[in-house]
Symmetry: C2
Subunit: 415 residues, 2 copies
C-alpha cells in the first residue's frame, strides 16, 4: 500500500487525557483513534494488526476442533435471568438499553449464556458431543476506570470459545489442548517469552482457573513467577496452602506486575444446570453437559505487545502481527530514486511481500525515518541517491541500529 | 468439514413468530439462530456465507481505492450533536445506553459522523484527498417492526464506505465507480439479474440518491422498472416531473415489490460543514470537503438471496457465496462406502474444494437428501453401495432434478 493512499498521519502528541503507553504510541502512529475513554476505533494500520492476531487465534482454535460462529451483541433479558446474571446487583458492568416497543436488552459482556442457550437447541445425545464453538465479537463492559488504553476497553474485540463435553475426563483432555493452543498464540504473537501460565481463583467448579499473564509494568495484576518451572501464581490465590498444593516454594518466586492476556475456565455444570443442558448417554441416561470457557481479548493482546516491545522511538512489531513486513522509504525527489522505488515496490507486491511504500514527495528524510520508527514495521528499505550510488538499497531491521547496503538483485532474498 | 463436527442440525419448524421466508429457511437449515425479533446469531454455516459476501464486497471496495478500518460501536454524544443527529426527536431509532460514571452514549446506527470526526484529524491539504475509508461493523437500529427476518434487523452487519473528495467533479467520478462496484457485488452474489439501479429521493445535496433494489415479493419498497434500460425508479420519486427528467415513460414501467440491498448517496457538504472538515487547495484557499456514502447490509443481502433463490425443498446458494461448494453424502454403513467417502473427502479438501461431508451413520438416505436440499450447497455428491456398483459417485447440482454417475477418476473434473 502507498502511504499517500493511507489517510492517517503520525502525530507529535496523543490526547492530553491519555496516560497509557500503548494508546499513546498507537494513537501517535495512526493505529487507533480515541472516541472516548475506553473506546477506540481501529484505523487501517491498526485493523491490519488486529486481523493478523485474529488469523493466528483462528488457526489455533481450528486446530483443536473449534467451529467459528458469531453471536449477537444484543442480549435477551430472559436468557440471562436463567443464570441469575441479568441483575445489575449481580453483574455490575452491563450496558443495557431499551427496545422502542418495550423491554430491556443488554450488550454482551461475556458469552456463556448466549452459547448455552443456542447449544441447548442442538444437543440431546452423546453423539452430539463434544463440540467447541467460538466467536470473535465486540464485547461491552461498563467500566468506571478506563485509563489503560486498549488494555481495558469499555468496548473491545475478543475471541471466546466454549467447550461442551460429556464428562470431566473429556473436558480435561480438551482443557489441556486449549492451554497449549494459548501458549502457541502468545509465542506466535511475539510475547511468549514474557507470558506465563498463571494459577488463579477457580470459582465454583474447579480449584483453579488459568490465566496467561504477560509481565509488564503496565499490568494491573500481581503475579509470582517460578522461572524454572515457567509458571506463575496470581496474588489472589497466593497463600501457603495453595503454594504447597502446587509444589511451589516462596523463595523460588519473583513478584511481577503483569497483564492478563487470556484466561481459561472449567465451568463444570454452572451453566448447563440453569439452562437444563443435558444429553442422553449410551445407556439412555440423562446427564448434564460439562462446559469450559476460553477467552482472549485481541485489543488487549495488541496493546500488550506495544507495552513490552517498544523503545523510545516507537513500536517494534513482531513480524507475525506487523501491519506490513517491509516499510519502503523513497528519499528525495530524484527521478532515478522514484523509478527504482516504484520498481521495487511493484516487485515486492508481486512476490507477496506486504509492503508500505512511503511515496510522499515533500517529506524530509528525517521525518520519514522518525515515522518509520514510530510505526514499527520490521524491515525498513531505503531508496536514495546515496543508496543507489552505493549499488542498491539500504536494509535495516527495526530492532537493529545499523543498516546494510543490499545490491538490487539480492533484495528479495532478505524477505 | 465433517457434519458430525458441526453442532447444528436441521429443524422441521422455525419459531412460531417467524413469518419471513428467509428466516424460516435459514433457521430450519441451521444458518442462524433467533435471539429476539430482529436479532439473530450466525451459526457456523451462516457465518461462512457472511464471510464470502464480505470477501466479495471487500474486493470490490479495494478495487476502487477503498481502505478498510473499523469504527467503534459506542458513539460519543458530542460528536453527533455537531450534526444535530443526537436528539431522539431528530433520529428516532437510536439505541442509547448510559456510562456507569455518567453520561449517555449511543450505539452506531450509521457512520457519517464517526468518519467525519476521525477524518477531520487527518485532512488539511488537497494532498490528503481523495480518500475512501470503509468498514464492516455491527449497526443497531431500534426498529419497532421486525418481521422480515434478516432483511431488517435491529442489529445487523454492514459495510459502509465514505468518500472524501476535493470537489463535485472528483466526487462524481468516484460515485460512478461505486455504482459499477455495487453492480459487480450483486452480480457476483448471484442476484444481478434481479437487481436494479433505482433512482430515489436525494436529500439536500443532490436530486437523487441511488438504491439497488432486488425484485422480490418480500420487499417493502415499490419500484417502477424499465426493463429495456435496466433501471428503476422508487415510488417516493415517481411523478411526472421526475419521469420526464429521467426520460422515462409510464408505459414502459412495470411496478414491482423490491428490497433495497444497497444505497449510495451524494452528501455534498452536509457533514463537512458541521465538522468544519476543510482542506487548503493548491492556492492556499480553504474549501469544504465533498462527501459521499455507500452502504450495504450483508445480512440483508444474504436474506435476499434466500428469498429469491429457493424452492419448496430449501435454499439454492449461488456458488460464490455458498457455505461449501460440495455436499458429500455417505449413504449406509457399508465399509466400502465409508472407505470411498472418506477417500474422496480427503482428496477434495486437498485440492482446495470446500466440502461438507455428511458422515452421519444413523441417518437415513431420505433424511440426508432432505437436509442437503434444505441447506442448499451447489453440488451434491453421493457415495452409496449403488453408486459404487454403477462405477463411481452420483453427482447432482442443487438446481437440477437428476444426477449422473461420475467415475472415480473423473470426479475432480466436475469442480
Amino acid at each position: 500500500m502507498k502511504q499517500t493512499q493511507l489517510f492517517t498521519k503520525t502525530k507529535k502528541e496523543s490526547p492530553a487525557d491519555e496516560v497509557s503507553l500503548n494508546a499513546e504510541l498507537l494513537i501517535r502512529a495512526g493505529f487507533i483513534s480515541k472516541e472516548m475513554a475506553g473506546v477506540y476505533s481501529y484505523l487501517p494500520l491498526g485493523l491490519r494488526v488486529i486481523k493478523k492476531i485474529e488469523d493466528i487465534i483462528r488457526d489455533e482454535m481450528n486446530k483443536i476442533g473449534g467451529v467459528e460462529m458469531r453471536t449477537s451483541v444484543l442480549q435477551n433479558k430472559e436468557v440471562w435471568e436463567k443464570s441469575n446474571r441479568w441483575d445489575d446487583e449481580v453483574v455490575d458492568n452491563w450496558f443495557k438499553t431499551k427496545l422502542k416497543n418495550g423491554g430491556e436488552v443488554g450488550l454482551s459482556f461475556t458469552n456463556e449464556e448466549a452459547y448455552a442457550d443456542i447449544l441447548k437447541q442442538y444437543i440431546s445425545s452423546y453423539k452430539d458431543l463434544p463440540v467447541y464453538p467460538y466467536d470473535f465479537k465486540n464485547i461491552f463492559r461498563n467500566e468506571t476506570r478506563s485509563k489503560s488504553g486498549i488494555l481495558r476497553g469499555r468496548e473491545f474485540y475478543w475471541k471466546a470459545l466454549y467447550s461442551f463435553s460429556k464428562d470431566e475426563a473429556e473436558h480435561n483432555v480438551f482443557y489441556e489442548k486449549a492451554k497449549d493452543a494459548y501458549k502457541n498464540i502468545y509465542k506466535r504473537a511475539g510475547i511468549g517469552h514474557l507470558t506465563y501460565l498463571t494459577f488463579a481463583s477457580g470459582g465454583t467448579f474447579s480449584k483453579f482457573s488459568h490465566e496467561f499473564q504477560t509481565i509488564t509494568g503496565a499490568g494491573e495484576d500481581l503475579i509470582y513467577v517460578d522461572e524454572n518451572r515457567g509458571i506463575a501464581i496470581n496474588k489472589e490465590v497466593y497463600n501457603d496452602e495453595v503454594l504447597e498444593s502446587l509444589g511451589l516454594k516462596k523463595e523460588d518466586l519473583v513478584e511481577n506486575k503483569a497483564v492478563e492476556v487470556g484466561n481459561i475456565f472449567s465451568l463444570g455444570t454452572k451453566f448447563s444446570t440453569p439452562f437444563d443442558l443435558k444429553y442422553k448417554d449410551e445407556n439412555g441416561e440423562e446427564k448434564l453437559v460439562i462446559m469450559g470457557s476460553y477467552g482472549i481479548g485481541l485489543g488487549r493482546l495488541m496493546g500488550t505487545v506495544v507495552e513490552v516491545l517498544s523503545d523510545d522511538k516507537g513500536i517494534i512489531w513482531p513480524e507475525s502481527i506487523a501491519p506490513f513486513k517491509v516499510h519502503l522509504l523513497m528519499l528525495g525527489g530524484d527521478q532515478s530514486v522514484k523509478t527504482e522505488a516504484l520498481k521495487i515496490y511493484e516487485e515486492l507486491k508481486m512476490k507477496g511481500v506486504e509492503v508500505l511504500f512511503d511515496d510522499r514527495v515533500d517529506t524530509s528524510a528525517g521525518e520519514k525515518f522518525a515515522d518509520s520508527d514510530l510505526i514499527g514495521i520490521p524491515y525498513r528499505v531505503v531508496v536514495s541517491k546515496r543508496s543507489l550510488a552505493d549499488g542498491g538499497f539500504e536494509v535495516k531491521k527495526r530492532i537493529e541500529t545499523n543498516g546494510k547496503i543490499v545490491p538490487f538483485d539480492k533484495l528479495m532474498e532478505e524477505f
